[in-house]
C-alpha cells in the first residue's frame, strides 16, 4: 500500500493530495498538464520535499513532517523513469544499466542483468552511447536502468510523451511485459486516457493539485461526474474480458465477460487470455425493445441507472448490464423521443467495427 498525504505550495499553486494506492499492479496518475501529477511522484521519489504530510510504502516511512523523517531518494528504493530518459551521456548503455545495479545491496537483487536486457531487447545496444540511440531505445534503456536498481516501486513520468505513435505502442508493450515479468508495483503518470486504460489497474484522477477520484480503473472511468476531467470523446467504460473463441470464417473473435459477450474483429490472442475492452460511449447506441433485423451484432440487455446532460445537446446514459457498467452517448432529442427513464430496461448496441485496435488493450495474465 502506498499512502500519501502531502501539501506543497509553489507560488500560487497548492498541491494538497491525499490518496492510497495498492502496492501491486499499475496505478495511473491521470490529469491535465499542470495538475500536479509530476509533483506527486517527485515527492514520492524524494526529489522534492513536501511542506507537510506523510508518505509511506507498506511499512516504510519515506517522509513524515511530524516525526521529522525525510528519507533521501537513494534510500527509498523507488525507481524513476523520466519523460526525457536522463541516461548518463558519459557512460555506455551497459554502464548506464549497471549504475543502479552496482549500488543495490546484493540481497535486494532478484532482478538479473541478463533477464532485463533480454526482456527489453537491448543486448545489441550495450556498447553504444546514449546519444546514438533513438527515442524508443533510450526509453527502453531507461526502463532497464530503473529496474536493475532493484526498486520496490517504479515511477514513470509520461515515459511515452516524446515518442511517435509506433514507438509508443512498442514501449507500452514492454511496460506490460515488465509488469507481468517482475511483479513490480508501478505508478504511471500520463495525460493520455488511451495509455491509462490500456495499462492501469487503479486510477487516480488529479485536478488542480487535488485528487479528484481514486479507485479501480473501470469504476473511475465510468463515473459521470468525472466527465469534465476525462473529456467528452474519451468517455466510456472498460470491460475486462477473456478470449472465448475465434471465428476464422468471418475473421471475428468472441470475448466473454461476466455479463455477456462481445464480437470484435479477430485478435491475435489465444483462447483464455485476458483482454481489456474499452467501450467508448459514442460507439454505443440504444434500443428500448429487443432489436431484430439489425446489422449490429453486439446487443447487451441492461437497465438505465443514470443520465447526465452534456452541453445541452448530448445525454450520457449509464447502463447496468448485470454487474458491468457501460455508457452510451446519445442526443437529448433521442432521449426525449424514446422517453427514456431511470430504471428502464434497454438494449445497448455496439458495432463490431467500432471495437478497433485502439479500444482493445491486450492484457496478459499474470504468471502463476
Amino acid at each position: 500500500m502506498i499512502a500519501v498525504t502531502v501539501r506543497k505550495q509553489f507560488g500560487s499553486f497548492l498541491l494538497d493530495a491525499v490518496f492510497t494506492a495498492p502496492a501491486r499492479g499499475i496505478t495511473a496518475l491521470f490529469g491535465r498538464s499542470g495538475a500536479g501529477k509530476t509533483t506527486i511522484i517527485d515527492l514520492i521519489a524524494g526529489i522534492l520535499a513536501p511542506d507537510a504530510g506523510r508518505i509511506t510504502l507498506d511499512d516504510q516511512v519515506f517522509y513524515d513532517a511530524d516525526l521529522r523523517i525525510a528519507l533521501p531518494p537513494e534510500q527509498r528504493r523507488v525507481g524513476f523513469v523520466f519523460q526525457d530518459s536522463r541516461l548518463f551521456p558519459h557512460l555506455s548503455v551497459e554502464a548506464n544499466l549497471r549504475y543502479g545495479l552496482r549500488r543495490a545491496r546484493a540481497a535486494d537483487a532478484p532482478v538479473a542483468f541478463e533477464t532485463v536486457v533480454g526482456v527489453l531487447g537491448i543486448s545489441h545496444l550495450l556498447p553504444r552511447r546514449p546519444q546514438t540511440l533513438s527515442g524508443g531505445e533510450r526509453q527502453r534503456v531507461a526502463l532497464g536502468r530503473a529496474l536493475l536498481a532493484q526498486p520496490r516501486l517504479l515511477l514513470m513520468d509520461e515515459p511515452l510523451a516524446s515518442l511517435d505513435a509506433p514507438r509508443k505502442a512498442e514501449i507500452l508493450s514492454y511496460i506490460e511485459r515488465l509488469r507481468d515479468e517482475f511483479r513490480l508495483p508501478m505508478i504511471y503518470v500520463s495525460h493520455s486516457l488511451d495509455e491509462v486504460i490500456r495499462l492501469a489497474d487503479h486510477l487516480l484522477v488529479v485536478s488542480d493539485g487535488r485528487i479528484a477520484a481514486s479507485g479501480p480503473l473501470a469504476d473511475v472511468v465510468s463515473r459521470l461526474d468525472l466527465q469534465p476531467l476525462l473529456g467528452r470523446f474519451e468517455a466510456g467504460a472498460v470491460i475486462d474480458c477473456t478470449v472465448a473463441a475465434h471465428d476464422d470464417h468471418y475473421v471475428l473473435t468472441t470475448l466473454r465477460f461476466d455479463d455477456g459477450e462481445l464480437r470484435v474483429p479477430l485478435i491475435d490472442r489465444p483462447v483464455g487470455e485476458r483482454v481489456r475492452v474499452r467501450l467508448r460511449a459514442r460507439d454505443v447506441s440504444m434500443a428500448v425493445s429487443e432489436p431484430r433485423d439489425l446489422s449490429i451484432s453486439n446487443r447487451l440487455a441492461g437497465t438505465i441507472t443514470a443520465f447526465a446532460v452534456r452541453d445541452g445537446v448530448f445525454v450520457d446514459v449509464t447502463i447496468s448490464v448485470g454487474t458491468t457498467t457501460i455508457r452510451a452517448l446519445i442526443s437529448r432529442e433521442s432521449r426525449d423521443r424514446l422517453a427514456l427513464t431511470v430504471g428502464q430496461r434497454v438494449w445497448a448496441l455496439i458495432k463490431t467495427v467500432a471495437l478497433d485496435n485502439r479500444s482493445l488493450g491486450l492484457l496478459r495474465p499474470p504468471r502463476a
Binding site: R77, R86, R103
Partner: protein, 229 residues
C-alpha cells in the same frame, strides 16, 4: 642555442605554472561550486573577490599581496612564524602571484561547466541509489571535465605569462622568481641583451605552441570520453 640560464628560466616557468595550477584547482572547484550551486549571504562579495584580479592592474594585485603576505603583513608574519614559509623573494611567492592572477579564469571555466550539468541527471542518479558524494564523483565531475580541463589550460597559460604581480610581490631573482617573462624583461633591460631576449622569446613561442597542442589533445580526449562530437 639557449644557455643554461635561459633553460633555468624556462624550467622555473613550467614549475611555477604547474604548481600554481595544481594548487588552485581544488579551491577553484570549491569557489565554482559555491557560486553556481549555493546561495548564501556574501555570495556576491565572494564573486567580486574571485574576479578582482581580472579587473585590477597586476601591479595592484602584487602590491596587495605584498601588504598581506609580505614579511610585515599579518598573514605573512603568521606563515613565517608558524610554518617558516616566506613568500617574498621565493619561488613560492611567484606561485602565489601566478595562482591569484589566474584564479578567476579557472573559476569561470569550471563554473560554466558546472552550470551546464543537467541537475536532472544528478537526481536520476540519486533515485538509482547514489548518495550526494557518489553522484558528484560518478556524474557531476565527469560531466564537468571539459570545463576543468579548459580551466586548467587557461590558468596554466596565464601563469606562464604572469609578469606584473610576480615582479611586484616576489621580485625578480634569478633561479627563484625569474620566470620567462621576467627573464625577457631583464634581458631587454641589459645592454647587449638583445640576442638573449630573442632566444628567450623563441623558447616562449615553442612553449606556447607545445602547450596549445597538448590542450587540443586533452580537449579531444575528454570529448571522446563524454561521447560528444
Amino acid at each position: 642555442m639557449p644557455t643554461s640560464v635561459e633553460y633555468d628560466a624556462l624550467w622555473l616557468s613550467l614549475k611555477v605554472a604547474t604548481t600554481a595550477t595544481v594548487f588552485s584547482l581544488p579551491l577553484a572547484m570549491l569557489a565554482a561550486w559555491l557560486l553556481a550551486r549555493t546561495s548564501f549571504w556574501g555570495r556576491t562579495a565572494l564573486d567580486a573577490v574571485v574576479h578582482a584580479p581580472l579587473v585590477l592592474p597586476p601591479v595592484v594585485v602584487g602590491y596587495l599581496l605584498l601588504i598581506g603576505l609580505g614579511t610585515r603583513g599579518s598573514l605573512g608574519l603568521w606563515l613565517d612564524q608558524t610554518f617558516g614559509i616566506r613568500l617574498v623573494f621565493t619561488t613560492g611567492g611567484a606561485v602565489v602571484a601566478a595562482a591569484v592572477m589566474s584564479f578567476p579564469l579557472m573559476v569561470r571555466a569550471i563554473r560554466l561547466s558546472l552550470e551546464a550539468v543537467d541537475s536532472g541527471l544528478e537526481w536520476a542518479a540519486r533515485t538509482l541509489g547514489a548518495t550526494r558524494l557518489d553522484v558528484f564523483f560518478s556524474v557531476t565531475l565527469p560531466l564537468m571535465l571539459p570545463g576543468i580541463v579548459s580551466g586548467c589550460i587557461v590558468a596554466f597559460a596565464s601563469s606562464l605569462g604572469e609578469f606584473g604581480a610576480t615582479i611586484t610581490f616576489a621580485s625578480n631573482i634569478e633561479g627563484e622568481t625569474r620566470t620567462l617573462p621576467l627573464a625577457i624583461y631583464t634581458a631587454i633591460q641589459t645592454p647587449d641583451g638583445d640576442r638573449m631576449a630573442l632566444r628567450l622569446v623563441m623558447l616562449s613561442l615553442t612553449l606556447a605552441v607545445g602547450a596549445l597542442a597538448l590542450a587540443e589533445v586533452a580537449d579531444r580526449r575528454v570529448r571522446r570520453m563524454l561521447g560528444r562530437p
